[in-house]
Subunit: 281 residues, 2 copies
């Protein structure tokens, strides 16, 4: 199969590496000439160009640009596409993306391969990034079933666990387990840094260890990613933030009232409940 | 030196292993006979007993019981102690502990070796648990300098980084970097579990990966430990929870108002600020 990739970063590059090893022909597009050259030198793609016209014969095209460039990219791609060409994206939010892209190209399937790294860019693209990871597809009532099945079969070939749901459900679920943790974690770092007693802050910085390290990790990550989550998943993220604040208020109240029995029950429930989430055991 | 350990769990047992290897004579006390036998079988201590009288000739005694048993333990120890004997504890809060124990035994130094594991008990005690870890000592105006120096020198022999501060400062610092993260993290798990849409919850549980795993880790830990933090460090923990809630409200407001510039600045600050905390780079 001839497969196009627009956006040769971590995700686009890693998809290309795995799919090309399976025998597909990979055609890459990047805004930067140097990235195209690097992708060819490293044999990540068969051909690469800064010009979208190179994708005219691709059967499937993965849109791997940042969220805010997706619509423009599709507009610029349209003149070159055959009606049979399947478009799919890899964005971490789906409701707004699907609503924007589906009317432009009916043969579109929203997708979200849930893999990542702290670093970004083609430099860190790697083989097998997607093994055992979730790959969510969000077909709508009008998505052609054959298009969905083509992307699902490519995702399975990467050894992903494939899930199907509607775009709104996807956005709520990732708000809870991915976007909310970023805001919670960033608030921890900010609250610590802003605390007024400088000698306590200095001591806290020296005593911090694994508890602080893990709880603060995602809040100390790429600001651009955090911003995109808030911007493109605003309603679902706010909903989870409101529910979280209520829960936090309950725990604060238990501590204020020295209600140790209720707090202990709460902590027992969270200890037991955590293991019901993938990746925690 | 003859060194006593009361409470042969993870911390007490690990202290005994390292100190005995240095040539000290180790005498252990546990409430449970089986634990005493295990400590002797594994050559963690030279002698062990369920009877505190065995500690009569110890020059330094580490109190490694749970926080709520410390005062009773000291009361029961007093009849056997020589005035020169140095007592020290390993509790994770210091203000209430020092206030309670210092009047009972003037030759007392509050201490907190900051090492731990997910599991507890003598079974998981190990050599070198304290290497490169912080060991905080909280001498007061009345603590004999020689007692502080004896404990500091033992802590340095474990390859700890030794810090000195007053008990209140310690409690504020650990509230920020250890106790607050537990409550934040437990609230995340609880909010996710309590969210009313069951199909979203199921999907969230399946899609959860490293972001959720790390942010939820300490909130899914030992409930007894979390409860002790809240109970014995109540004022400092509440102070940090209030400041944290204010910070969270600011981020919620930025998202509500689509104030992306301010949110981006905030996330840039947390990205840069995180690296100023020990253990995060």
């Amino acid at each position: 199969m001839e497969i196009g990739i627009v956006g040769l970063g971590l995700i686009g590059g890693s998809l290309a590496i795995d799919l090309r090893r399976q025998g597909h022909t990979l055609v890459g597009v990047s805004r930067r000439k140097e990235t195209c050259e690097q992708a060819i030198d490293r044999e990540i793609v068969d051909q690469a160009s800064t010009n979208l016209a190179i994708l005219a014969t691709a059967e499937v095209i993965f849109l791997c640009t940042p969220l805010h460039s997706l619509a423009t990219t599709v507009d610029q791609l349209l003149p070159y596409l055959d009606p049979a060409t399947i478009l799919t994206d890899v964005g971490s939010v789906k409701l707004s993306v699907v609503a924007e892209l589906e009317p432009k190209w009916p043969n579109f399937v929203g997708g979200h391969p849930m893999a990542g790294k702290a670093e970004s860019g083609l430099e860190v693209a790697q083989a097998n990034l997607f093994v055992d990871r979730a790959y969510v597809l969000t077909p709508t009532a009008t998505t052609p079933a054959a298009a969905t099945e083509t992307i699902a079969s490519l995702a399975r070939s990467l050894q992903c666990r494939v899930y199907y749901c509607d775009p709104a459900e996807h956005d709520c679920a990732v708000a809870w387990i991915s976007h909310l943790p970023v805001m919670i974690s960033a608030s921890l770092i900010a609250a610590c840094l802003n605390q007024p007693d400088r000698s306590v802050l200095k001591l806290a910085q020296e005593l911090a260890s694994s508890g602080f390290r893990d709880t603060s990790r995602v809040g100390g990550g790429n600001p651009e990613l955090g911003l995109m989550m808030a911007r493109y998943n605003q309603p679902a993220l706010l909903q989870s933030l409101y529910a979280y604040r209520q829960q936090l208020d309950q725990i604060i109240q238990q501590i204020e009232q020295s209600d140790w029995n209720t707090l202990e029950q709460q902590l027992l429930q969270t200890q037991q409940g955590r293991s019901q989430f993938s990746g925690t055991t």
